[in-house]
């Protein structure tokens, strides 16, 4: 299912959020700050919130 995920740019180091579904067809992504394609999906935003609460 598509969810908001936290991505980390492996080039400039910035974190940003983008819609992502690990099971759906991939699409080309790039860092909003440096335009690099080395962007890594870390976890969905909800799981971050849960972690913060827990």
């Amino acid at each position: 299912m598509e969810k908001m995920w936290v991505f980390k740019c492996q080039r400039c180091g910035c974190d940003y959020q983008e819609v992502y579904d690990p099971k759906a067809a991939l699409r080309e992504r790039s860092c909003p700050q440096c335009r690099s394609n080395s962007v890594r999906p870390l976890h969905d935003v909800d799981s971050t919130k849960r972690q913060a609460k827990g």
Binding site: Q10, R11, L26, E28, S36, S38, R40, P41
Partner: protein
């Protein structure tokens, strides 16, 4: 169409759909669903008596809903075969037969309510995909009031109104009150060149269509005034500029500016708009009897089915992608499949005919040769090593591999294999060899590059078609980039296995870059999606091993992107300079331990 219908060697299957396609070049098995027409096309002489008595009346799709048709109808006047069909969704009912009037009057006894869809399997050597386009529906652009205001119509509806075979027999009337409009406005680029409306592309045909329409109006109705609101007029084809000049000379006003909103005078049905004329830099008010929205085109909504059946890829716009934009413009990436017409991109009749002729010729060349020559870069499978796991079959973009799970073997159809190497990277048992891009050959390159001064080098895996060619573009354009970047070429980034990347790190590489084609440009349909999945897995693995994930980089560089190649190489050098010798030593140690562990495990098993 009629010539094709009459040709003894052409089998026309209208009112049919492709259900499935199997096989490969020269040996396709195509399953076709021939939909039931409920009228025997071999008997029907299209006398039209059935239509006269049919009581079920529905909007006529061919006339854009501006006229009606019956449940039993001829799809359009020049339809081939010239035979009626019954739309069962519109028919009053056949089970039990509620009406039966058409059958009663048919002297040829062509009506058969019990007719069923027929499944036909065809042996096909080559396939030409010419599935066309959809037209943009401007209802969603509410500011233009299409469907709210009767006298706002689309260019497609205008086409029917001005056509001698149309609902008004070619008399131009506005739908609101059936009077002849004498002030007509055309708005260009409705649904084109606008990302807001979901299409950044130019629809290619609308400008000249409007120019033609204005000339028709001025010719048939000399008192009628036409105004065209545009962003820019794209009259690029042979004779197009002349036609545009003629339209202007005929008194058609061309106003550079797109109105924001249309309002209607409820009393008269006339339409008003305010527009900024960007040539005169003034705000203008206009009133028209009728407004024509020059609507753009869209890739077919049901195009996904044919793409899946034939393992085709699409551009970011959603149109079918050709094997090579310059050298193979009508070949699909799947061998034996060709593309023609608007399925590939929006184009006019002349271009479509040119492309269709080229596609037919390409198919003819293939079939006449009777055999195909494949490049010697396809894969081979060693069934002594194969475990029949199916990983290769899953990732092959061409469906060229079939796995027999029972026998634990796999087989490749070499005529269908394009040599991307994705299967070779997916195989965990070393059962697949990519000719000329074998594991041993690639590993030897990695080892040779990292034989000395490892900390001063960046290992760059580059795909043949895009990123490596991007490097060539940078080189031929004399764009300097740091010499620390050492390139290893593979046909596709899908060939770059996790092992190659880990080996580079194990041999002391400070930075590894995996580069390939942009998603829309992948020369192996979608093989580079596997690259992304692999890089994601590698980042996870590196993180687990305590290795900085930033040391593995990913970049899509096209053949034309010399500057991007240069920029990326410079960035790689910057990243390389940040990696310390201690970090490299730690990585080598960790990965060597992991490698030894795995090796021992393999030996024991």
């Amino acid at each position: 169409m009629m010539d094709a219908g009459r040709h003894p060697l052409i089998k026309l299957m209208s009112y049919s759909e492709i259900e499935d396609v199997n096989g490969y070049v020269g040996n396709f098995k195509v399953t076709v669903r021939k939909k039931a027409r409920y009228v025997d096309e071999t008997v029907c002489n299209s006398c039209g008596e059935c239509e006269k008595v049919c009581p079920a009346i529905h909007p006529d799709e061919f006339q854009m809903g501006l006229a009606t048709r019956k449940a039993v109808h001829l799809p359009f006047p020049q339809a081939v075969p010239s035979a009626y069909l019954i739309n069962m969704e519109n028919c009053l009912g056949t089970n039990p037969i509620a009406c039966g009037k058409c059958a009663e009057v048919c002297e040829k006894n062509a009506i058969n309510y019990d007719m069923q869809d027929e499944i036909v399997v065809l042996d096909i050597g080559a396939i030409v995909v010419a599935t066309g386009i959809d037209v943009y529906d401007p209802t969603q652009q509410d500011e233009y009031g299409y469907t709210r205001f009767q006298n706002v119509i689309t260019s497609m509806e205008f086409e029917r109104l001005i056509c001698a075979g149309g609902p008004t027999v070619g008399h131009l009337v506005r739908p609101g009150d059936h009077t002849t409009p004498l002030r007509i406005g055309f708005i260009q680029c409705v649904g084109s060149r606008s990302l807001r409306d979901g299409a950044g592309f130019c629809s290619n045909i609308c400008c000249m269509n409007t120019v033609k329409d204005t000339l028709l109006i001025r010719d048939h109705y000399p008192d009628a005034e036409c105004s065209v609101f545009y962003i820019d007029i794209r009259a690029f084809g042979k004779g197009f500029e002349d036609l545009y000049d003629k339209s202007r000379e005929a008194g058609v006003k061309y106003i550079r500016g797109i109105p924001g909103e249309i309002t209607e005078d409820p009393a008269t049905g006339n339409l008003r708009m305010v527009v900024e004329n960007t040539t005169t830099r003034s705000i203008e008010e206009h009133e028209f009897d009728m407004i024509v929205l020059s609507v753009g085109v869209r890739p077919r909504a049901d195009g996904g089915d044919i793409r899946r059946h034939l393992t085709l890829s699409q551009t970011s716009d959603g149109f079918l992608m050709e094997a090579h934009p310059k050298l193979k413009p009508v070949d699909a990436p799947t061998r034996g499949v060709y593309i023609a017409g608007c399925a590939e991109a929006p184009k006019d009749v002349k271009e479509s005919v040119t492309q269709a002729s080229a596609a037919a010729a390409r198919a003819g060349v293939l079939l006449n040769a009777g055999k195909v020559t494949v490049e010697a870069i396809t894969c081979t499978i060693d069934n002594d090593l194969c475990h029949g796991c199916g990983a290769c079959e899953k990732v092959c973009p061409y469906g060229a591999i079939t796995v027999d799970k029972g026998a634990k073997t796999a087989a490749v159809v070499e005529a269908a294999c394009a040599g991307c190497g994705t299967c070779g990277s997916a195989c965990r048992f070393d059962a697949i060899t990519m000719r000329h891009f074998t594991d041993a050959q690639i590993v030897a390159q990695v080892d040779a590059l990292l034989a000395e001064r490892q900390s001063g080098k960046v290992i760059v895996f580059a795909c043949n078609w895009c990123s490596y060619a991007g490097g060539d573009t940078a080189g031929t354009s004399r764009m300097l980039y740091p010499a620390s970047n050492r390139l290893i070429r593979t046909m596709c980034s899908g060939r770059i296995s996790e092992e190659f990347v880990l080996r580079a790190f194990r041999k002391g590489a400070p930075i590894v870059l995996v580069s390939g084609c942009h998603f829309a440009d992948c020369h192996y349909i979608d093989a580079n999606r596997q690259t992304v999945k692999r890089v994601y897995r590698l980042w996870k693995q590196l993180e687990k091993l305590g290795i900085r994930t930033e040391r593995l980089q990913l970049e899509w560089i096209s053949a034309a992107e010399g500057p991007k190649f240069q920029k990326t190489m410079r960035e790689m050098e910057e990243l390389r300079a940040q990696v310390t010798q201690e970090e490299i030593d730690h990585t080598v140690k960790v990965l060597t331990e992991q490698f030894e562990k795995r090796r021992l495990k393999k030996v024991r098993s």
